[in-house]
Symmetry: C2
DNA sequence: GCGATAAATGTTACCGATTACATACTCGAC
DNA sequence: GTCGAGTATGTAATCGGTAACATTTATCGC
């Protein structure tokens, strides 16, 4: 490895002081043209580039934001990461990704690490709201001493930080109303683990919607599921096998597209034809939705925009010191064919 | 924001020198128990944590590796990232992700950034081998002055750095032989852009396999495609519409699972039934493969293991200064139902 | 109780930049 | 020729740690 030239080397070679070298680099106008050239030559000759580390130390900040996410098996999180990355980039910040091991929420060590690294702001997303209330609050309070904290979280999570809420009302209301419009009356909800705030909120909203639309609510129709395809498959099998054929729902709202994918597989295995025998709606509008069979109607929560807002607010909070901000981004229904709507299909009972 | 305590504050509060504070933190055994306690109390009282930036400056390295990837729309890359992340983590390094904007290969600025940040090693993966030879080599040479460089790349890319090759022979040989065993004789290849090394290599290997197995080679059977589902869908439509029905192939090998997904959609749209009318094989063994309809037979290139090896070699190269290493990780065929094999199906012509 | 050795702690230069302040140089006016 | 204003450049403290070396204190043999 080549030894890196320091500012001292350059200063010496150009026969000036380090201050002058800095001035040349910073394009300070009050250096004589002749000097500037001398210095520039030395810089070029040695391919000199100032050490970011040293600059960071001097500046007292590394201009880094952090985002804490569960391992990115789910594309929903890469969308958040990507959006945050470019937004940070556009503001001269870099973004460090901290991953939590599966279902492990923020650990004590991670909090320490964030503080030790002089992170300038941190964004949390994903399944950390389920962790013990006290632990979470402690972690948050500790962090907030040193950096602005933002979270993409379900509404109602009353964390004392910048909060960007996904719209858990519309993300259930939209599919239910859509199905209702199509004539469905027996609608099931395949949710995540009711331990998590997100899932239990959605279930609550789901029941609310049924009531508002005067739809029957069969307790057998809401069922927990792991957050992936296998979870969806199992839950669906459980749902169908627990009921006699006549009492099966005619439509399913799922917690996310992965679960929907698993559900679709289970339904086909049971010999059902989609969307005629069963309508399915996913959530997250993942890239594969147009390519499932039939193409999956889904909900877009706009994770990119949420991440972008979060980063912007983090940067703003650096100066303003006000760390209370809360916004809610509404969801959008993306209609495809898994409910038959696009086919002009209408359920009759 | 709270003012952070420095080592001087702690030293003062505990009535010792900074050296002693460092010793306590580093668990140096030659501090008296009484002193240790005094210091520890001061540390705890101020929630003191040494500044990573200052440590980095002193150490002359930030213990960071970097991985340069195209934006992670493709799960293949998140798998590489994840594996690299944990491997780095296990060795006390952190991992910074640098993303290239779509199809833009490594830019001059990114190289500068990597150098300025005193990155301790960099791993490249993805579609950068297509970029101009000279530019790429220049970038590599520049980087190699300052850090070990590794690349996950197709075999035959004769970059002068640590090379982890995916097995582009088996990743075509396996599916072709599999299809051949099942009785297929008319096999098409839906590849990526022939501009890229990866895709052209595979096509070459594909033709080689046909020859070895004495299978007919119809030029209409190899066709370019964008790297995503839309690309696969379009390419498939093009393939089928360019031939009269009687000359259609009975099986398709695709560049990746996304393309396969698109192809499957196109095939269904044409009224073909899988796997009876057409067998399809993907590549990458992505998470959704078991959940396509029918479940997609695919090739696993083991990106995790490649990333792991790459990180290990990067860390090794730091001392040994030998930067020539090359290994090839073979591929594995994952048989599902999209070729009918699992159903005991056999093609007869 | 003294010197020799070991144990505990302190002093200070250094890592590589930035910047407030000090100094030197230039030029025109008188 | 000298003074002052402005311009160009240099000096040195600073950021927050680390560690080689120096110094002080404790321990032990005789």
């Amino acid at each position: 490895m080549r030894k890196r030239a320091t500012i001292y080397d350059i200063a010496q070679e150009a026969g000036v002081s380090t201050a002058t070298v800095t001035r040349v680099i910073k394009q300070d106008p009050r250096v004589k043209a002749a000097t500037r050239e001398k210095v520039q030559r030395a810089i070029d000759a040695n391919a000199y580039a100032p050490s970011v580390t040293a600059q960071n130390l001097e500046r007292g900040s590394a201009k880094v934001l952090a985002v804490v996410l569960p391992e990115m098996s789910n594309l929903y999180f890469s969308r958040i990461y990507n959006a945050a990355y470019w937004e940070a980039d556009a503001n001269g910040y870099s973004l460090r990704l901290f991953q939590t091991r599966e279902n492990q929420p923020i650990s004590r060590e991670m909090v320490s690490e964030l503080i030790r690294c002089r992170i300038d702001g941190v964004l949390f997303a994903g399944n950390i709201w389920s962790s013990d209330r006290r632990d979470l609050n402690d972690a948050l309070e500790r962090l907030k001493n040193y950096m602005p904290v933002a979270a993409i979280c379900p509404p109602g999570v009353d964390l004392d930080c910048i909060r960007i809420h996904s719209d858990l009302v519309s993300c259930v209301r939209l599919p239910v109303r859509h199905l209702h419009t199509l004539g469905h009356r027996h609608i099931a909800f395949i949710g995540g683990s009711m331990q998590t705030k997100d899932a239990s909120k959605r279930k609550y909203n789901f029941l609310e919607q049924l009531r508002l639309l005067d739809l029957p609510d069969d307790p057998a129709y809401h069922i927990e599921a792991g957050y992936d395809m296998e979870g969806g498959e199992r839950a669906t099998m459980r749902l169908l096998s627990s009921l006699e054929r006549g009492r099966w729902p005619s439509a399913m709202v799922t917690f996310n597209d992965l679960i929907a994918l698993g559900a679709m597989k289970a339904l086909k295995k049971m010999g059902l034809h989609l969307p005629d025998d069963m309508a399915v709606i996913g959530c997250d509008n993942q890239f594969f939705c147009p390519y499932t069979d039939p193409p999956l109607t889904s909900i877009d929560l706009h994770p990119e925009e949420m991440a972008q807002s979060a980063v912007r607010e983090l940067l703003l909070a650096q100066e303003s010191s006000s760390q209370s901000f809360s916004m809610i981004r509404d969801a959008t229904l993306i209609v495809r064919e898994s409910c038959g709507a696009a086919l002009g299909y209408r359920k009759m009972e």
